[in-house]
């Protein structure tokens, strides 16, 4: 049946992506559940461990992601107005900021790993179990979030290509819109990760 053009239905595409985001809510929800339980049991240790996080880098990264969300939202408005060149520019900026986020994240991780703080490390296992859990959660949650950022960057890069080749137009922009929704979701996850790991000192 080939491409099944007959079923092209933007509303269905929108339902599809939102349903997918619902599953993502539950996926990250499992992690937030563990976080809340472990923090409830080890409030003091979480307090101490969070002091080791770099608040400046975390804040910059938050601003970076918020701004990237602004760009991709505007890119969709640009496409709807038929301004594909502006849309490409805005998506490019989004990808750039996503990359900046990952680079900063990399330095944050490396700085800790160099100090010997990573899961199952001898240094870490000497700390209290609350701190072990904190850093375990830190690596797992920011790691899986980072993976989502990486996937987002990849998908948006494809969208830039589609916008440039005229696959995405003011009449047919469902792909880009759905990508935007995914990117905003990833942003929201970070909005919660930021206070939970950087601000509970």
């Amino acid at each position: 049946m080939g491409d099944s053009e007959i079923h092209k239905d933007r509303m269905a595409a929108k339902y599809g992506i939102w349903f997918f985001l619902f599953t993502e809510i539950l996926f990250f929800g499992g992690m937030f559940l563990l976080y809340s339980i472990f923090r409830y049991r080890n409030a003091g240790a979480f307090h101490i461990a969070a002091a080791q996080e770099d608040l400046l880098l975390g804040s910059i990264n938050t601003a970076v992601l918020l701004t990237s969300s602004f760009f991709i939202a505007s890119a969709i408005s640009a496409v709807k107005r038929g301004n594909n060149r502006l849309a490409i520019l805005l998506q490019g900026l989004t990808v750039l900021l996503g990359a900046v986020f990952l680079v900063i994240k990399y330095f944050e991780w490396m700085e800790k790993i160099v100090r010997g703080i990573y899961p199952n490390s001898p240094v870490l296992l000497k700390l209290s179990s609350g701190e072990v859990l904190f850093f375990g959660l830190y690596y797992v949650m920011t790691g899986i979030h980072g993976l989502h950022v990486f996937i987002g960057i990849t998908v948006i890069s494809f969208m830039i290509y589609f916008t440039a080749t005229g696959n995405i137009t003011r009449k047919d922009y469902a792909k880009l819109e759905n990508t935007g929704l995914y990117w905003h979701f990833v942003d929201i996850v970070w909005i919660y990760l930021f206070p939970l790991f950087y601000l509970i000192t």
């Binding site: 049946m1 080939g2 099944s4 053009e5 007959i6 079923h7 239905d9 509303m11 269905a12 339902y15 599809g16 349903f19 997918f20 619902f22 599953t23 993502e24 809510i25 539950l26 996926f27 990250f28 929800g29 499992g30 992690m31 559940l33 563990l34 339980i37 472990f38 080890n42 899961p119 199952n120 296992l125 209290s128 179990s129 609350g130 072990v132 859990l133 375990g136 959660l137 690596y139 797992v140 899986i144």
Partner: protein
């Protein structure tokens, strides 16, 4: 596009691919459904063979399987039967084939996503299969992968768990696809309360797949991270808590019970009105009870953990909510019986399987009440009583519904009729074997025989022997049933368009259906199951 759509059966080759590729690359929901069905039944038979091996080993412990191998065999039996057969089960095979037809659509909402989910299923299955043979050995944790053992064992859990993760992703995408399809692609006039009951249950199941499976996914990720990187969320020596694993696991795996059983109930609701020649009793009650089961099903997982060391408060809360599930389940049973009442019953094999579903599922459900109550659970938890209970629900429930669906929709899917006599003989043998096999487990469990044990004191021998003999009888019945079906698929008589006198849309198109199902999208102007014409 619609003009040149061929009216030949869906399995006649068109398009650029040939041979097996013409199936693997197809986005036709019917081809995908048939492929799923073949894969599912293959895994079912592997699971059956492993089950027979377990039973055989139990009447002569140590003679056939060593202790370690026994652990692996029952684990792999569980993993295959649960994750590869019965969870995908009815939705991916019969849902794919019939859901679009029943709502008057040409395909699902996202045909290519559907094909992708099928590939994911194959990938997940391959990973699980591979984990049996690569270094470390087959999983020996049971299908539940309980931590901390699953994090410490030498067996190759990482790969098996990755496989289950991929299968879960496939399941999410299937659920997402079906829910969107039901929202967007219903034919004109197909209002929510004109939907066939099977569609309602697949809809409710789709939501459970979307909102529960991610919790399993993240739990499995924790297991993998625990094994590969030593992250110790479930490891007490690192401040973790193994009971949290059980919470997260059952947060998915209890709703998963409804992923298995809800569509089964849908099948039964399709079969009974047709063979009772009566419209379904209490349409809205049956429809809403499906949604009710799906929603309450999220909040009862704790009853799998009464003996885990969970708090008393939680045990009481979970035990209480568990009883609530019995209400919508009871509504369904009563409505089916009421549908049969004063009907002109035609006792063909689909109905026979459906009736056995009601009988066996009721036993499974009622024993579920016994172990859902906190006090008796403490006595029965971790015994063969549990094993008997969930085999009555899973095999007696979902399994018999699959057999009912196979017989009911066989003429539509293959265009051939099966032989009625061997089907009935096979059913009789299966039914007798089933009850011998699993009812003796209730007795064994009540007497205190723990599940998953390799050996036992001599007083349990008689029970185990009866159970094992039952397993042979059950297998004989299955062989007769499936030989009959396979033979008929090739040599059966041509099936008419509507062999049973059903009123659903699937009976208004040729058997087997052509590509894109409908020449013209039908317009629906009346409720389903209207037998008066």
């Amino acid at each position: 596009m619609e003009d040149n759509a061929s009216r030949e059966p869906y399995y006649v080759n068109r398009g650029k691919y040939r041979g097996i590729l013409s199936w693997l690359m197809s986005t036709d929901h019917k081809r995908i459904g048939i492929q799923y069905l073949i894969a599912l039944l293959t895994f079912f038979w592997i699971g059956v063979l492993l089950g027979l091996l377990i039973r055989l080993s139990l009447i002569m412990p140590g003679k056939i399987l060593s202790q370690g191998t026994y652990n692996q065999v029952f684990s792999v039996h569980g993993i295959i039967m649960i994750f590869l057969f019965i969870i995908p089960g009815i939705p991916v095979a019969f849902g794919n084939f019939f859901l679009p037809i029943m709502i008057g659509a040409r395909d699902v909402a996202f045909p290519r996503l559907n094909r992708f989910a099928w590939w994911l299923y194959l990938t997940g299955a391959a990973l699980v299969a591979l984990s049996l043979f690569v270094s470390g050995g087959a999983p020996d944790t049971g299908w539940t992968f309980y931590a901390p053992y699953s994090i410490r064992t030498q067996a190759n859990i990482t790969m098996a768990v990755s496989g289950v993760f991929v299968l879960g992703f496939s399941s999410i995408l299937t659920g997402l696809n079906f829910v969107t399809t039901i929202h967007r692609l219903r034919a004109p006039g197909m209002t929510w309360f004109r939907l066939p009951m099977f569609v309602w249950t697949v809809y409710a199941t789709g939501w459970v797949q979307m909102l529960a499976t991610p919790v399993l996914a993240i739990t499995l990720v924790f297991i993998i991270l625990g094994r590969v990187f030593g992250v110790g969320f479930f490891d007490p020596s690192k401040g973790g808590d193994p009971i949290l694993y059980e919470h997260l696991f059952w947060t998915y795996s209890h709703p998963a019970v409804y992923i298995m059983v809800l569509p089964a109930m849908g099948v039964i609701s399709e079969v009974i009105p047709v063979f009772a020649r009566k419209t379904i009793f209490g349409y809205k009650a049956v429809a809403f009870s499906a949604v009710g089961i799906a929603s309450v099903g999220y909040f009862v997982w704790g009853h799998h953990m009464f003996t885990s060391g969970m708090s008393d408060t939680a045990r009481i809360i979970f035990s209480f909510i568990t009883f609530l599930v019995a209400v919508p389940s009871g509504i369904k049973i009563f409505n089916w019986v009421a549908t049969l009442y004063k009907g002109s019953i035609v006792l063909d094999s689909p109905l026979i399987f459906a009736l056995s579903f009601i009988f066996l599922f009721s036993i499974g459900g009622l024993t579920g009440l016994i172990i859902g109550a906190l006090a008796p659970n403490l006595h029965l938890h971790g015994t063969y009583f549990i094993v008997g209970h969930f085999h009555y629900v899973m095999f007696g429930g979902a399994g018999f519904a699959i057999l009912a669906a196979l017989h009911y929709w066989f003429p539509k899917m293959t265009g051939k009729m099966y032989n009625e006599r061997p089907a009935k003989i096979g059913w009789l043998i299966l039914f007798v074997g089933f009850n011998l096999l699993y009812f003796s487990m209730f007795v064994l469990g009540y007497e205190g025989m723990p599940r998953r044990y390799f050996d036992y004191p001599p007083e349990y021998y008689t029970g185990h022997l009866i159970s094992t003999i039952g397993s042979w009888i059950l297998a004989t019945g299955l062989i007769i049933i499936f030989t009959n079906l396979i033979r008929s698929a090739f040599k059966g008589q041509e099936a008419p368009m509507n062999p049973w006198g059903g009123r659903g849309l699937e009976w208004t198109i040729p058997s087997p259906p052509p590509e894109e199902n409908f020449e013209e999208i039908p317009v629906i102007d009346k409720a389903p199951y209207r037998m008066d014409g």
